[in-house]
């Protein structure tokens, strides 16, 4: 009796030491854990009663998947690997076909108090076989006696709740099965997501145009990843990168909006707009498009009137205006004539100069001639009350972005 008591004490001591070590290691692991290792708690089982070959036995076990644990991310797949081994593996190993396994899970929340449903899964010992899950598909080699059980749509977590799972296995054995002791183990598996997000800039044609500082740029991107963690878009320039604001498009799944007014410190050139998405597992993907920044105003060439030439009645005006990038805004081209009185150009407001008044036509429109591809106008000097004298001619034109050029 005394020996038994001592043995029991030693056993309790060993268990206590082991538990303490395990707890310390667990705490250390939790404190430093940044990996994707999941943890299950409150494990019970496996419970299985002895059975006869050729019959179906039911085994069960249970565990909690606590989503509060930092190790346990959402959307972890539900994958079991069941391994059945013979205690005399040398002489009577388990072969494929010796067992058939199927099962289901009863899931509870709130400390196992509230049932939230049943989830059935299939088990397969086919060699090889592919685990299918939205996180990724993985082909695995399957040893004799091993079954992979999973539900492609099944997850370990249940929304915002800690899930408590009771797992029931139906194990059907072959009548020719060697009668003896068998070991049964169940391992929970997770898939590491190696799938990169899918990133598609949807309206790439939108970038066929030019932009400038002050332009409002907005575009949509389709980003697909079940574990999407973050996403962003930037304009990459040699001097500086410019970020876009972002938001999910309301009412649309996987569509994200990026928008930004281009700041005035951007330089001219063709630059890459890079959209990047990264998931919880560090997989990332990008899509890109070129954004063209045009800060150069049109070039204005005066073809007529000629410098110093004398005109009477009709003053022919012809301007050749070009803009290699965004193009000339044809409605923006204007000219004016200002009288030069006493060597002074009539002010823009046309107010009198000293004791003299002066003529200022103000900015006048000039039409684009499709034939000559120049801006032309035959100005009737009488109509504009242009008396004999010297006039200062100037012109202005904008490209379609509003980059403004003056001819003075």
């Amino acid at each position: 009796m005394k020996k038994q008591i001592i043995t029991t004490k030693i056993r309790k001591l060993l268990i206590s030491i082991s538990l303490t070590i395990a707890i310390i290691f667990s705490l250390l692991s939790m404190a430093t854990s940044v990996s994707a290792d999941r943890v299950i708690d409150n494990i019970e089982g496996i419970y299985i009663e002895d059975f006869v070959a050729g019959s179906t036995a039911q085994a069960n076990f249970s565990y909690s998947y606590l989503r509060d644990r930092p190790e346990n991310p959402d959307d972890s797949p539900l994958i079991f690997r069941i391994n059945i081994t013979s205690s005399d593996d040398e002489n009577f190993p388990v072969w494929k076909g010796d067992f058939e396994v199927s099962g289901f899970i009863k899931r509870y929340i709130l400390f196992g108090l509230i049932p939230v449903g049943e989830e059935h899964f299939t088990c397969n010992e086919q060699e090889p076989q592919t685990i299918i899950h939205p996180l990724g598909n993985e082909t695995v080699n399957v040893k004799n006696g091993t079954f992979y059980c999973f539900d492609p749509e099944g997850n370990l977590d249940f929304g915002d709740f800690n899930a408590y799972d009771e797992v029931f296995l139906n194990i059907k054995s072959h009548p020719a099965l060697w009668p003896g002791e068998y070991g049964l183990s169940v391992e929970l598996y997770y898939l590491t997501d190696t799938y990169s997000p899918i990133v598609n800039i949807l309206d790439k044609f939108y970038f066929d145009r030019y932009f400038r500082d002050g332009s409002y740029v907005d575009f949509e991107v389709e980003i697909i990843d079940v574990n999407l963690n973050d996403y962003w878009a930037k304009i990459i320039t040699p001097n500086k990168n410019f970020s876009f604001a972002k938001q999910e498009k309301q009412g649309y799944e996987n569509i994200y909006e990026f928008f930004q007014t281009i700041p005035n410190d951007i330089i001219e050139g063709d630059f890459e707009v890079l959209v990047t998405a990264v998931d919880d597992f560090g997989n990332n993907a990008t899509d890109n498009i070129t954004i063209k920044i045009d800060l150069t105003p049109p070039t204005i060439e005066l073809l007529s009137p000629e410098e110093g030439k004398v005109y009477s009645e009709i003053l022919p005006i012809e301007l050749n205006i070009t803009d290699e990038k965004s193009g000339v805004n044809k409605t923006s081209v204007k000219f004016r004539l200002r009288e030069i009185a006493n060597g002074t150009i009539c002010p823009e407001t046309g107010v009198p100069i000293g004791n003299y008044s002066c003529v200022n036509t103000g900015w006048l429109n000039i039409e684009f001639d499709e034939i000559t591809e120049t801006f032309t106008k035959q100005l009737n000097t009488t109509e504009y009350n242009l008396s004999s004298g010297e006039y200062w001619f100037d012109a202005r034109a904008e490209d379609i972005l509003g980059n403004l050029a003056y001819l003075e």
Partner: protein, 183 residues
């Protein structure tokens, strides 16, 4: 059982610490148990059927004179399964004989037919029936070879006495148990 769970808990905790995500598919928890699998039991049932692991709820009696055998067959074709051991079996029978003095031999044969229909004995022994009222008898029997290509099992009883000896067999408690492996 409680001790086992505690030990398992410790193993799992230690395993959880050591595993680092390295591959696409990785495990993070292990739950273990063990189970004793016994050999199948074949029950004689009315209709001369041999039920596998299913004890019948009704019984029937059959009479046999010498030269006439009573054979119980499994209903389901197993399709040619292979054993990987030589079975050691216990043969049970509930029987009587019309003249039990001296006791009369009744041959008990447990065997199978393969997928080509050939009947192969796993083991056969003579059981002396020594009662004129139904009584339970059993005998252990070592198989001779590893059953291969098994399609159906049978349990056969055949009288070995003279022509005027009549045996009566009840399906109650008449069964074959595979109890282990012939070493």
């Amino acid at each position: 059982m409680k001790k086992k769970i505690i030990v398992i808990g410790i193993i799992i905790s230690v395993l959880l610490i050591g595993i680092v995500s390295a591959s696409l598919l990785d495990f993070f928890g292990k739950i273990t148990g063990s189970v004793e699998v016994k050999g199948p039991v074949f029950y004689a049932a009315p209709g001369k059927v041999l039920l596998v692991n299913e004890e019948p709820s009704t019984y029937a009696t059959y009479e046999a004179r010498d030269g006439n055998a009573i054979v119980f067959w499994t209903e389901e074709n197993l399709g040619g399964i292979d054993f990987n051991y030589i079975p050691k079996v216990d043969l049970y029978i509930r029987a009587k004989v019309n003249n039990a003095t001296p006791s009369k031999p009744l041959e008990l044969i447990f065997g199978y037919s393969d997928t080509s229909g050939i009947m192969i004995d796993i083991c056969s022994l003579n059981m002396d029936i020594s009662t004129e009222e139904l009584d339970d008898y059993y005998i252990s029997c070592d198989g001779l070879s590893i059953p291969q290509d098994v399609d159906e099992f049978y349990y056969k009883m055949q009288g070995k006495g003279s022509q005027d000896i009549e045996y009566e067999i009840s399906t109650e408690n008449t069964k074959v148990e595979i109890i282990g492996v012939v070493e």
